[in-house]
Protein backbone atom coordinates (compact mmCIF):
# COMPACT_ATOMS: atom_id res chain seq x y z
CA UNK A 1 0.00 0.00 0.00
CA UNK A 2 1.32 3.43 -0.95
CA UNK A 3 2.26 5.77 1.91
CA UNK A 4 2.49 9.52 1.92
CA UNK A 5 6.28 9.20 2.25
CA UNK A 6 6.43 7.13 -0.95
CA UNK A 7 4.20 9.68 -2.62
CA UNK A 8 6.52 12.48 -1.52
CA UNK A 9 9.44 10.62 -3.12
CA UNK A 10 7.46 10.44 -6.36
CA UNK A 11 6.63 14.11 -6.11
CA UNK A 12 10.28 15.04 -5.60
CA UNK A 13 11.29 12.96 -8.61
CA UNK A 14 8.56 14.54 -10.73
CA UNK A 15 9.54 18.04 -9.59
CA UNK A 16 13.11 17.33 -10.66
CA UNK A 17 11.92 16.12 -14.09
CA UNK A 18 9.64 19.12 -14.48
CA UNK A 19 12.45 21.49 -13.51
CA UNK A 20 14.76 19.89 -16.10
CA UNK A 21 12.15 20.18 -18.84
CA UNK A 22 11.37 23.78 -17.90
CA UNK A 23 15.06 24.73 -18.04
CA UNK A 24 15.31 23.22 -21.53
CA UNK A 25 12.41 25.35 -22.71
CA UNK A 26 13.55 28.61 -24.28
CA UNK A 27 10.23 30.32 -23.60
CA UNK A 28 7.27 30.43 -21.28
CA UNK A 29 5.01 27.37 -21.40
CA UNK A 30 1.27 27.44 -20.74
CA UNK A 31 -1.03 24.47 -20.33
CA UNK A 32 -4.77 24.49 -19.89
CA UNK A 33 -6.83 22.17 -17.73
CA UNK A 34 -10.48 21.82 -18.72
CA UNK A 35 -11.93 20.17 -15.63
CA UNK A 36 -13.42 21.75 -12.52
CA UNK A 37 -12.06 18.99 -10.32
CA UNK A 38 -8.56 19.57 -11.74
CA UNK A 39 -8.98 23.26 -10.91
CA UNK A 40 -9.75 22.61 -7.26
CA UNK A 41 -7.25 19.75 -6.91
CA UNK A 42 -4.43 21.90 -8.32
CA UNK A 43 -5.25 24.81 -6.02
CA UNK A 44 -5.79 22.56 -2.98
CA UNK A 45 -2.39 20.90 -3.28
CA UNK A 46 -0.67 24.20 -4.11
CA UNK A 47 0.52 23.01 -7.51
CA UNK A 48 0.80 26.48 -9.02
CA UNK A 49 3.06 27.65 -6.21
CA UNK A 50 5.71 25.00 -6.90
CA UNK A 51 5.77 25.20 -10.70
CA UNK A 52 8.91 26.51 -12.39
CA UNK A 53 8.67 30.23 -13.16
CA UNK A 54 8.20 29.73 -16.89
CA UNK A 55 5.43 27.10 -16.58
CA UNK A 56 1.83 28.11 -16.08
CA UNK A 57 -1.35 26.08 -15.60
CA UNK A 58 -4.44 27.92 -16.84
CA UNK A 59 -8.01 26.98 -15.98
CA UNK A 60 -10.26 26.58 -19.00
CA UNK A 61 -13.95 25.79 -19.54
CA UNK A 62 -14.15 22.79 -17.23
CA UNK A 63 -16.54 23.76 -14.46
CA UNK A 64 -20.06 22.70 -15.54
CA UNK A 65 -21.82 25.37 -13.50
CA UNK A 66 -19.47 28.10 -14.75
CA UNK A 67 -19.83 27.28 -18.45
CA UNK A 68 -23.64 27.26 -18.30
CA UNK A 69 -24.78 30.40 -20.14
CA UNK A 70 -26.57 33.17 -18.31
CA UNK A 71 -29.56 32.64 -20.62
CA UNK A 72 -29.77 29.00 -19.51
CA UNK A 73 -29.50 30.04 -15.85
CA UNK A 74 -32.26 32.64 -16.33
CA UNK A 75 -34.40 30.06 -18.12
CA UNK A 76 -33.93 27.64 -15.21
CA UNK A 77 -34.76 30.24 -12.57
CA UNK A 78 -37.80 31.37 -14.57
CA UNK A 79 -39.09 27.81 -14.70
CA UNK A 80 -38.43 27.26 -10.99
CA UNK A 81 -40.59 30.29 -10.23
CA UNK A 82 -43.68 28.63 -11.73
CA UNK A 83 -46.21 27.27 -9.31
CA UNK A 84 -46.69 23.50 -9.26
CA UNK A 85 -43.13 22.99 -10.48
CA UNK A 86 -40.72 21.14 -8.23
CA UNK A 87 -37.21 21.78 -9.47
CA UNK A 88 -34.56 19.19 -8.66
CA UNK A 89 -30.92 20.14 -8.96
CA UNK A 90 -27.43 19.21 -7.85
CA UNK A 91 -26.29 21.45 -5.00
CA UNK A 92 -23.79 23.40 -7.11
CA UNK A 93 -26.55 25.24 -8.98
CA UNK A 94 -28.40 26.53 -5.95
CA UNK A 95 -26.62 29.85 -5.51
CA UNK A 96 -25.86 30.77 -9.12
CA UNK A 97 -27.26 34.26 -9.62
CA UNK A 98 -29.69 34.92 -12.44
CA UNK A 99 -31.32 38.10 -13.60
CA UNK A 100 -34.07 37.70 -11.02
CA UNK A 101 -32.33 36.05 -8.09
CA UNK A 102 -31.13 32.51 -7.61
CA UNK A 103 -32.71 29.12 -6.97
CA UNK A 104 -31.81 29.61 -3.32
CA UNK A 105 -33.78 32.87 -3.26
CA UNK A 106 -36.79 31.21 -4.88
CA UNK A 107 -36.61 28.50 -2.24
CA UNK A 108 -36.49 31.13 0.52
CA UNK A 109 -39.67 32.62 -0.98
CA UNK A 110 -41.46 29.29 -0.76
CA UNK A 111 -40.55 27.73 -4.10
CA UNK A 112 -39.94 23.99 -4.24
CA UNK A 113 -36.26 23.49 -5.02
CA UNK A 114 -34.93 20.05 -4.09
CA UNK A 115 -31.24 19.23 -4.01
CA UNK A 116 -30.74 15.67 -5.20
CA UNK A 117 -27.85 13.24 -4.91
CA UNK A 118 -28.77 11.42 -8.11
CA UNK A 119 -30.94 12.13 -11.16
CA UNK A 120 -32.95 9.04 -10.21
CA UNK A 121 -34.01 10.77 -6.98
CA UNK A 122 -35.89 13.27 -9.15
CA UNK A 123 -37.77 10.46 -10.91
CA UNK A 124 -38.63 8.89 -7.56
CA UNK A 125 -39.93 12.24 -6.32
CA UNK A 126 -42.13 12.56 -9.42
CA UNK A 127 -43.56 9.11 -8.65
CA UNK A 128 -44.32 10.11 -5.06
CA UNK A 129 -45.93 13.43 -6.06
CA UNK A 130 -47.99 12.89 -9.20
CA UNK A 131 -49.82 16.21 -8.72
CA UNK A 132 -46.59 18.15 -9.27
CA UNK A 133 -44.44 18.68 -12.33
CA UNK A 134 -40.93 17.59 -11.36
CA UNK A 135 -38.15 19.09 -13.47
CA UNK A 136 -34.54 17.94 -13.24
CA UNK A 137 -31.99 20.68 -13.97
CA UNK A 138 -29.44 18.72 -15.96
CA UNK A 139 -26.03 20.34 -16.15
CA UNK A 140 -22.62 18.76 -16.49
CA UNK A 141 -20.24 17.28 -19.01
CA UNK A 142 -20.10 13.76 -20.41
CA UNK A 143 -19.41 12.40 -16.92
CA UNK A 144 -22.86 13.48 -15.73
CA UNK A 145 -24.96 13.38 -18.90
CA UNK A 146 -25.36 9.55 -18.95
CA UNK A 147 -26.99 9.67 -15.52
CA UNK A 148 -29.58 12.13 -16.91
CA UNK A 149 -30.17 9.71 -19.78
CA UNK A 150 -30.67 6.93 -17.23
CA UNK A 151 -33.31 9.06 -15.46
CA UNK A 152 -35.20 9.61 -18.71
CA UNK A 153 -35.17 5.86 -19.42
CA UNK A 154 -36.32 5.20 -15.85
CA UNK A 155 -39.22 7.66 -16.23
CA UNK A 156 -40.30 6.02 -19.48
CA UNK A 157 -40.05 2.48 -18.10
CA UNK A 158 -41.98 3.44 -14.96
CA UNK A 159 -44.64 5.36 -16.89
CA UNK A 160 -43.88 8.56 -14.96
CA UNK A 161 -45.59 11.39 -16.82
CA UNK A 162 -44.87 14.35 -14.52
CA UNK A 163 -41.08 14.23 -14.95
CA UNK A 164 -39.00 16.26 -17.40
CA UNK A 165 -35.45 17.52 -17.77
CA UNK A 166 -34.12 20.96 -18.56
CA UNK A 167 -30.88 19.88 -20.20
CA UNK A 168 -27.82 22.09 -20.46
CA UNK A 169 -25.25 19.33 -20.76
CA UNK A 170 -21.98 20.09 -22.48
CA UNK A 171 -19.40 18.22 -24.58
CA UNK A 172 -15.74 19.03 -23.94
CA UNK A 173 -14.20 18.24 -27.35
CA UNK A 174 -16.19 20.89 -29.31
CA UNK A 175 -15.24 23.46 -26.63
CA UNK A 176 -11.55 22.59 -27.04
CA UNK A 177 -11.96 22.96 -30.81
CA UNK A 178 -13.63 26.36 -30.34
CA UNK A 179 -10.68 27.55 -28.24
CA UNK A 180 -8.16 26.23 -30.75
CA UNK A 181 -9.98 27.85 -33.68
CA UNK A 182 -8.53 31.16 -32.47
CA UNK A 183 -4.96 29.86 -32.48
CA UNK A 184 -3.54 33.37 -33.00
CA UNK A 185 -4.73 34.47 -29.57
CA UNK A 186 -4.97 31.10 -27.86
CA UNK A 187 -1.36 30.46 -26.89
CA UNK A 188 -1.52 27.15 -25.08
CA UNK A 189 1.10 24.42 -25.41
CA UNK A 190 -1.14 21.54 -24.44
CA UNK A 191 -4.26 20.40 -22.64
CA UNK A 192 -4.45 18.64 -19.30
CA UNK A 193 -7.54 16.62 -20.18
CA UNK A 194 -10.27 15.79 -17.66
CA UNK A 195 -9.98 12.45 -15.91
CA UNK A 196 -13.62 11.63 -15.28
CA UNK A 197 -15.01 12.95 -18.57
CA UNK A 198 -12.40 10.73 -20.20
CA UNK A 199 -13.65 7.72 -18.23
CA UNK A 200 -16.83 8.02 -20.29
CA UNK A 201 -15.58 9.27 -23.70
CA UNK A 202 -12.25 7.38 -23.70
CA UNK A 203 -8.77 8.65 -24.46
CA UNK A 204 -9.15 8.11 -28.22
CA UNK A 205 -11.73 10.92 -28.30
CA UNK A 206 -8.83 13.42 -28.16
CA UNK A 207 -6.96 11.98 -31.17
CA UNK A 208 -8.67 14.35 -33.66
CA UNK A 209 -7.63 17.33 -31.50
CA UNK A 210 -4.00 16.19 -31.49
CA UNK A 211 -4.09 15.47 -35.23
CA UNK A 212 -5.95 18.59 -36.40
CA UNK A 213 -4.28 21.19 -34.19
CA UNK A 214 -0.88 19.62 -33.39
CA UNK A 215 -1.43 20.16 -29.69
CA UNK A 216 -0.73 17.63 -26.95
CA UNK A 217 -3.51 16.15 -24.86
CA UNK A 218 -2.52 14.44 -21.61
CA UNK A 219 -5.24 12.87 -19.48
CA UNK A 220 -4.51 13.25 -15.80
CA UNK A 221 -5.82 12.02 -12.49
CA UNK A 222 -6.54 14.15 -9.44
CA UNK A 223 -4.05 13.27 -6.73
CA UNK A 224 -1.02 15.58 -6.47
CA UNK A 225 1.31 12.95 -7.96
CA UNK A 226 -1.00 12.27 -10.90
CA UNK A 227 -1.52 15.97 -11.58
CA UNK A 228 2.20 16.69 -11.48
CA UNK A 229 2.93 13.65 -13.60
CA UNK A 230 0.53 14.83 -16.32
CA UNK A 231 1.95 18.34 -16.23
CA UNK A 232 5.51 17.04 -16.43
CA UNK A 233 4.53 14.93 -19.43
CA UNK A 234 2.98 17.99 -21.14
CA UNK A 235 6.10 20.03 -20.41
CA UNK A 236 8.45 17.38 -21.81
CA UNK A 237 6.34 17.04 -24.98
CA UNK A 238 6.34 20.82 -25.47
CA UNK A 239 10.10 21.03 -25.06
CA UNK A 240 10.55 18.31 -27.66
CA UNK A 241 8.05 20.08 -29.98
CA UNK A 242 5.90 16.96 -30.07
CA UNK A 243 2.12 16.79 -30.16
CA UNK A 244 0.87 13.54 -28.65
CA UNK A 245 -1.99 11.95 -26.78
CA UNK A 246 -0.91 10.41 -23.48
CA UNK A 247 -3.19 8.70 -20.99
CA UNK A 248 -1.70 9.27 -17.54
CA UNK A 249 -4.84 8.05 -15.78
CA UNK A 250 -5.04 4.45 -17.05
CA UNK A 251 -6.39 3.36 -13.65
CA UNK A 252 -9.79 4.59 -14.80
CA UNK A 253 -9.55 5.69 -18.43
CA UNK A 254 -9.49 3.25 -21.34
CA UNK A 255 -8.92 4.10 -25.02
CA UNK A 256 -12.54 3.45 -25.95
CA UNK A 257 -14.18 4.75 -22.73
CA UNK A 258 -17.23 3.32 -21.01
CA UNK A 259 -19.35 1.92 -23.83
CA UNK A 260 -22.33 1.28 -21.53
CA UNK A 261 -22.38 4.95 -20.51
CA UNK A 262 -21.94 6.06 -24.12
CA UNK A 263 -24.80 3.94 -25.41
CA UNK A 264 -27.05 5.14 -22.58
CA UNK A 265 -26.15 8.75 -23.39
CA UNK A 266 -26.51 8.51 -27.15
CA UNK A 267 -29.72 6.50 -26.84
CA UNK A 268 -31.51 9.38 -25.15
CA UNK A 269 -29.60 12.41 -26.44
CA UNK A 270 -28.15 13.65 -29.71
CA UNK A 271 -25.40 16.27 -30.15
CA UNK A 272 -26.77 19.79 -30.60
CA UNK A 273 -25.49 23.35 -30.67
CA UNK A 274 -25.18 24.85 -27.20
CA UNK A 275 -24.57 28.23 -25.59
CA UNK A 276 -21.51 28.67 -23.38
CA UNK A 277 -20.84 31.51 -21.01
CA UNK A 278 -18.26 33.81 -22.56
CA UNK A 279 -17.79 31.59 -25.59
CA UNK A 280 -21.15 31.99 -27.32
CA UNK A 281 -22.85 29.24 -29.32
CA UNK A 282 -20.57 26.33 -30.19
CA UNK A 283 -21.72 23.82 -32.82
CA UNK A 284 -22.61 20.38 -31.48
CA UNK A 285 -21.21 21.20 -28.05
CA UNK A 286 -24.30 20.11 -26.12
CA UNK A 287 -27.09 17.56 -26.18
CA UNK A 288 -30.78 17.65 -26.99
CA UNK A 289 -33.15 14.85 -26.10
CA UNK A 290 -33.94 12.68 -29.11
CA UNK A 291 -37.38 13.03 -30.72
CA UNK A 292 -38.69 9.85 -29.08
CA UNK A 293 -37.96 11.40 -25.67
CA UNK A 294 -39.30 14.88 -26.53
CA UNK A 295 -42.12 14.55 -24.00
CA UNK A 296 -39.49 14.59 -21.26
CA UNK A 297 -38.00 17.85 -22.56
CA UNK A 298 -39.00 20.66 -20.16
CA UNK A 299 -38.43 23.29 -22.88
CA UNK A 300 -41.14 21.67 -24.98
CA UNK A 301 -43.44 20.74 -22.11
CA UNK A 302 -43.52 24.28 -20.70
CA UNK A 303 -43.10 26.13 -24.01
CA UNK A 304 -40.02 27.93 -22.73
CA UNK A 305 -38.65 30.84 -24.72
CA UNK A 306 -34.91 31.27 -24.38
CA UNK A 307 -34.15 34.57 -22.65
CA UNK A 308 -31.63 37.01 -24.02
CA UNK A 309 -28.03 36.35 -23.01
CA UNK A 310 -27.09 39.09 -20.57
CA UNK A 311 -24.13 38.53 -18.27
CA UNK A 312 -23.81 40.44 -14.98
CA UNK A 313 -22.34 43.89 -15.50
CA UNK A 314 -18.60 43.98 -14.95
CA UNK A 315 -18.34 40.19 -14.48
CA UNK A 316 -15.42 38.61 -16.33
CA UNK A 317 -16.42 34.97 -15.75
CA UNK A 318 -16.67 34.44 -19.50
CA UNK A 319 -13.06 35.51 -19.98
CA UNK A 320 -11.90 33.55 -16.93
CA UNK A 321 -13.54 30.41 -18.31
CA UNK A 322 -11.83 30.74 -21.68
CA UNK A 323 -8.45 31.29 -20.01
CA UNK A 324 -8.08 34.87 -21.24
CA UNK A 325 -7.76 36.48 -17.82
CA UNK A 326 -7.14 35.35 -14.26
CA UNK A 327 -9.68 36.17 -11.52
CA UNK A 328 -7.83 39.15 -9.95
CA UNK A 329 -8.11 40.97 -13.29
CA UNK A 330 -11.85 41.24 -12.67
CA UNK A 331 -12.65 44.44 -10.77
CA UNK A 332 -15.41 42.60 -8.88
CA UNK A 333 -13.18 39.77 -7.64
CA UNK A 334 -12.83 39.77 -3.87
CA UNK A 335 -14.61 43.11 -3.59
CA UNK A 336 -18.21 42.99 -4.79
CA UNK A 337 -17.94 39.30 -5.72
CA UNK A 338 -17.04 36.89 -2.93
CA UNK A 339 -18.10 33.35 -2.01
CA UNK A 340 -20.60 34.87 0.44
CA UNK A 341 -22.01 37.24 -2.15
CA UNK A 342 -21.16 35.78 -5.58
CA UNK A 343 -21.96 37.73 -8.72
CA UNK A 344 -20.61 35.30 -11.32
CA UNK A 345 -20.84 31.49 -11.39
CA UNK A 346 -17.06 31.04 -11.14
CA UNK A 347 -17.32 32.36 -7.58
CA UNK A 348 -20.34 30.18 -6.74
CA UNK A 349 -19.27 26.72 -7.72
CA UNK A 350 -16.74 24.96 -5.53
CA UNK A 351 -15.07 23.99 -8.83
CA UNK A 352 -15.05 27.56 -10.15
CA UNK A 353 -11.71 29.21 -10.82
CA UNK A 354 -12.63 32.38 -8.90
CA UNK A 355 -13.83 30.42 -5.85
CA UNK A 356 -10.68 28.27 -5.84
CA UNK A 357 -8.43 31.31 -6.33
CA UNK A 358 -10.22 33.18 -3.52
CA UNK A 359 -10.03 30.23 -1.15
CA UNK A 360 -6.48 29.07 -1.78
CA UNK A 361 -4.58 32.11 -3.05
CA UNK A 362 -6.10 34.64 -0.70
CA UNK A 363 -7.87 37.88 -1.30
CA UNK A 364 -4.82 39.94 -2.19
CA UNK A 365 -4.44 40.31 -5.91
CA UNK A 366 -0.94 39.51 -7.16
CA UNK A 367 -1.41 42.31 -9.69
CA UNK A 368 -2.31 45.04 -7.24
CA UNK A 369 -1.13 46.42 -3.94
CA UNK A 370 -4.70 47.26 -3.00
CA UNK A 371 -5.97 45.14 -0.12
CA UNK A 372 -9.28 43.61 -1.03
CA UNK A 373 -12.43 43.79 1.03
CA UNK A 374 -12.34 41.75 4.20
CA UNK A 375 -15.18 39.28 3.93
CA UNK A 376 -15.84 36.20 5.98
CA UNK A 377 -15.65 33.01 3.97
Amino acid sequence: MKSIAADKQNLDALMARLGTAARRASRRLAFMEVCGTHTTSAFRCGLQSVLPENVRLISGPGCPVCVTSQADIDELIGLASKQAVVLCTYGDMLRVPGRSGSLEKIRSQGGRIEVVYSSLDAVALAQREPAHQVVFAAVGFETTAPSTAAAVYQARESGVKNFSVLASHKRIIPAMRALLADRENFKVDGFLCPGHVSVVIGSNAYLPIVRDYSVSCVIGGFEPTLLLSALTCLCELAVENKAALVNQYPQAVTPEGNRHAQSLLMGAFEPADARWRGMGAIPESGYNLRTEFAKYDARIRFGLITPEEREPKGCLCGQVISGKVEPPTCSLFGRACTPVNPIGPCMVSSEGTCAAWFKYKGRLSPYSETPLQETAV
Binding site: M1, K2, S3, I4, D7, L11, D12, M15, L18, G19, A22, R23, A25, C35, G36, T37, G46, S49, V50, L51, P52, E53, N54, G62, C63, P64, V65, Y90, D92, Y117, S118, S119, L120, D121, V139, G140, F141, T143, T144, P146, S147, A150, P194, H196, V197, V199, V200, E223, Q251, A252, N258, H260, A261, L264, S349, E351
Partner: protein
Amino acid sequence: MCLAVPAQLVEKHGQCGVVDLHGNRLPINTVMTPDALPGDWLLIHAGFSIEQLDPQQATETWSLIHDLRDADVQSAQLEPPSRPAADGSKQ
Protein backbone atom coordinates in the same frame (compact mmCIF):
# COMPACT_ATOMS: atom_id res chain seq x y z
CA MET B 1 -19.54 18.36 -10.26
CA CYS B 2 -17.25 16.02 -12.16
CA LEU B 3 -15.96 14.71 -8.85
CA ALA B 4 -15.94 10.92 -8.65
CA VAL B 5 -14.69 8.79 -5.79
CA PRO B 6 -13.68 5.14 -5.50
CA ALA B 7 -15.90 2.95 -3.34
CA GLN B 8 -16.38 -0.78 -2.80
CA LEU B 9 -19.58 -2.49 -3.91
CA VAL B 10 -21.04 -4.43 -1.00
CA GLU B 11 -24.53 -5.31 -2.27
CA LYS B 12 -26.14 -5.63 -5.67
CA HIS B 13 -29.73 -6.37 -6.63
CA GLY B 14 -30.29 -5.91 -10.35
CA GLN B 15 -29.00 -2.45 -11.24
CA CYS B 16 -29.29 -1.25 -7.64
CA GLY B 17 -26.21 -1.46 -5.49
CA VAL B 18 -24.83 -0.30 -2.18
CA VAL B 19 -21.24 0.89 -1.84
CA ASP B 20 -19.04 1.35 1.18
CA LEU B 21 -17.50 4.80 1.20
CA HIS B 22 -15.19 5.03 4.20
CA GLY B 23 -17.80 3.36 6.39
CA ASN B 24 -20.77 5.19 4.87
CA ARG B 25 -23.22 3.06 2.92
CA LEU B 26 -24.59 4.75 -0.18
CA PRO B 27 -27.10 3.52 -2.73
CA ILE B 28 -25.87 3.59 -6.32
CA ASN B 29 -27.04 2.53 -9.75
CA THR B 30 -24.78 0.15 -11.68
CA VAL B 31 -26.30 0.47 -15.17
CA MET B 32 -22.97 1.78 -16.51
CA THR B 33 -20.95 -1.04 -14.93
CA PRO B 34 -23.25 -4.05 -15.43
CA ASP B 35 -20.48 -6.59 -14.79
CA ALA B 36 -19.67 -5.26 -11.33
CA LEU B 37 -20.02 -7.72 -8.47
CA PRO B 38 -19.96 -7.27 -4.69
CA GLY B 39 -16.35 -6.78 -3.63
CA ASP B 40 -15.43 -4.84 -6.77
CA TRP B 41 -14.11 -1.30 -6.55
CA LEU B 42 -16.06 1.26 -8.54
CA LEU B 43 -15.74 4.91 -9.44
CA ILE B 44 -18.88 6.69 -8.18
CA HIS B 45 -20.29 9.88 -9.67
CA ALA B 46 -23.69 11.42 -8.85
CA GLY B 47 -25.16 8.16 -7.63
CA PHE B 48 -23.90 6.03 -10.52
CA SER B 49 -20.87 3.81 -10.88
CA ILE B 50 -19.10 5.02 -14.03
CA GLU B 51 -16.17 2.58 -14.13
CA GLN B 52 -14.67 -0.44 -12.42
CA LEU B 53 -11.29 0.15 -10.86
CA ASP B 54 -8.24 -1.93 -10.23
CA PRO B 55 -8.56 -2.89 -6.51
CA GLN B 56 -4.92 -2.09 -5.75
CA GLN B 57 -5.15 1.37 -7.29
CA ALA B 58 -8.40 2.10 -5.49
CA THR B 59 -7.09 1.08 -2.09
CA GLU B 60 -3.88 3.05 -2.70
CA THR B 61 -5.99 6.13 -3.39
CA TRP B 62 -7.92 5.62 -0.17
CA SER B 63 -4.69 5.05 1.72
CA LEU B 64 -3.32 8.32 0.38
CA ILE B 65 -6.49 10.19 1.32
CA HIS B 66 -6.18 8.76 4.86
CA ASP B 67 -2.53 9.83 5.01
CA LEU B 68 -3.34 13.31 3.70
CA ARG B 69 -6.08 13.70 6.28
CA ASP B 70 -3.63 12.75 9.04
CA ALA B 71 -0.96 14.95 7.53
CA ASP B 72 -3.34 17.89 7.43
CA VAL B 73 -3.49 17.79 11.22
CA GLN B 74 0.30 17.93 11.42
CA SER B 75 0.75 20.23 8.43
CA ALA B 76 2.85 22.67 10.40
CA GLN B 77 5.60 20.05 10.58
CA LEU B 78 5.70 19.45 6.84
CA GLU B 79 8.27 21.31 4.82
CA PRO B 80 6.95 22.67 1.50
CA PRO B 81 8.94 21.75 -1.63
CA SER B 82 11.26 24.42 -2.95
CA ARG B 83 10.37 26.22 -6.16
CA PRO B 84 12.90 25.74 -8.99
CA ALA B 85 13.50 28.84 -11.10
CA ALA B 86 13.79 28.71 -14.88
CA ASP B 87 17.58 29.00 -14.64
CA GLY B 88 17.77 25.99 -12.36
CA SER B 89 18.50 27.85 -9.15
CA LYS B 90 16.39 27.25 -6.07
CA GLN B 91 14.28 30.02 -4.64
